[in-house]
């Protein structure tokens, strides 16, 4: 009892133990210290993301071209609306959590139950949304080509709009079959083959003279880039990806080695290889926190239902999980800024 609940320390007994110099119980204080260490872990990840991004500052993918999906709106480019919705859901579940804590201070079991329930629902919706976001990210939309040098080429039409591989790649007779376990010997298998081969994309590109190639390089509007004969003279905009001339596009495409569709841990169609790795790792780690937060919330929710805290005459346990839950929200605020806005 004494270790889980803050009780007024009426006796001044400095060396006798039971002191609370910070005015918080042992459990709450340890939750704060856990949050400090977890915050530093996340800072480490985000700083590592910043490190890699600064290293490839000229070629890093632009977030508003990557996250453009919204449920039931197919083919509509809706940059950031979905992640904004996710942010609202998480902030709202933070609000219901703090309302539960507030109700706990008044020992109002019915209200605590209700707000805890809403918090759990909010958390589940958030985790589900993140899964949906991941599935779109992994599936990809346009497809791209990787060259011998490891750089990524994307396709645009003569107005600068993105073109999907499926819109122009031709279908050539295939002799390449995906190796599966059933066809292999001794557990041989390979990853999913891309829908098109390099030759099919190259042939399709040849057959569509209006197509151009867009590199990873972010265009800087200055004398050097303007004078560069490789850059497209009309389509390039500052702080957008550089579009090449048709001649240079054909030249670059000749070096193609791999067709990239969607994203995995090795390569992704959005640009820098590290981009997808960091996206999976940091949003995944955050999603894991949300998931474990939901589990802990459910446990506490049942304890509230069973009247455990009613008997204790203190809902401090709700306050402690509340701290964790707000921390998850706090981390998301930073992840949101770093991955989607900046």
């Amino acid at each position: 009892m004494g270790s889980t609940v803050t009780t007024a320390n009426s006796e001044e007994n400095t060396w006798g133990g039971g002191n609370e110099p910070m005015g918080a119980s042992y459990g709450k204080l340890m939750m704060w210290f856990f949050i400090v260490s977890d915050a530093l872990t996340f800072s480490g990840f985000l700083a590592a993301y910043g490190f890699s991004r600064f290293k490839f500052i000229e070629t890093w993918p632009l977030a508003d071209e990557v996250f453009t999906h919204f449920p039931f709106l197919h083919g509509v480019s809706a940059p950031m609306y979905y992640v904004a919705l996710m942010t609202f859901i998480l902030i709202f579940s933070s609000v219901t959590m703090v309302l539960a804590v507030d109700a706990g201070h008044h020992l109002n079991k019915a209200k605590v139950t209700f707000y805890m329930f809403l918090t759990i629902i909010g958390g589940l919706i958030f985790v589900g949304s993140q899964a949906w976001e991941w599935s779109n990210f992994i599936r990809g939309e346009y497809g791209a080509i990787e060259t011998k040098g490891g750089s990524l080429l994307q396709f645009v039409d003569n107005t600068g709009h993105r073109v999907k591989l499926s819109d122009f790649a031709v279908s050539l007779p295939k002799e390449r079959e995906q190796l599966t376990k059933s066809k292999g010997k001794w557990f041989m298998e390979e990853g999913t083959l891309p829908t098109y081969t390099v030759a099919e994309v190259q042939a399709g590109f040849k057959a569509h003279p209006e197509l151009l190639i867009r590199t990873e390089v972010i265009y800087e509007d200055n004398a050097t880039t303007k004078a560069d004969p490789k850059n497209n003279p009309t389509l390039n905009k500052i702080k957008h990806k550089t579009i090449l001339t048709r001649a240079e596009s054909e030249h670059r495409l000749a070096n193609a080695t791999v067709v990239v569709e969607g994203a995995n841990l090795i390569r992704n169609e959005y640009g820098s290889k590290l981009f997808a790795d960091f996206f999976f790792f940091i949003t995944g780690f955050h999603g894991f926190h949300v998931f474990s937060g939901v589990i802990i919330n459910i446990i506490i929710f049942f304890n509230v239902l069973l009247g455990t805290y009613e008997k204790r005459r203190s809902y401090e346990m709700v306050e402690k999980v509340g701290l964790y839950w707000h921390f998850v929200d706090l981390v998301w605020v930073f992840v949101f800024t770093v991955f989607y806005l900046v």
């Binding site: 800072s43 910043g50 490190f51 290293k55 508003d64 942010t87 309302l99 800024t337």
Partner: protein
């Protein structure tokens, strides 16, 4: 915390409104990306990114102070939690970002081409 049982409901909803408005502003700016802000640089970063980071810290302050109820804690607890985090994060960012910028310059200005 246990001395006063005054309901904070009003303040909670106020903070929720504030965080919602700030998020809306961020998303709005992120979508339209006004050129006057996006192309103007100040201390090595464009004004739009400055606004995003300042608003993020603004939101973080309200989450910690109002939702996590840091404003009701003793000042020693506030300092013990907040000061080490802020100091270490600034330190880490300073080291990593400076180093990353140096590596970027090496790749840009020398003949080394290595994508890793």
């Amino acid at each position: 915390m246990s001395d006063v049982h005054v309901s904070n409901t009003k303040r909670i909803w106020f903070v929720f409104g504030l965080l919602s408005v700030v998020t809306t502003v961020e998303v709005f700016l992120g979508i339209i990306k006004p050129e006057s802000l996006h192309l103007t640089h100040f201390l090595g970063m464009n004004l739009l990114n400055w606004i995003f980071y300042i608003l993020t810290i603004f939101k973080a302050y309200y989450i910690v102070w109002a939702f996590m109820h840091m404003e009701g804690e003793k000042s020693i607890l506030r300092k013990v939690v907040v000061v080490p985090v802020i100091f270490l994060v600034i330190y880490l960012l300073f080291i990593l970002l400076t180093e990353a910028d140096y590596i970027f310059e090496v790749f840009k200005n020398s003949t080394i081409k290595w994508n890793f």
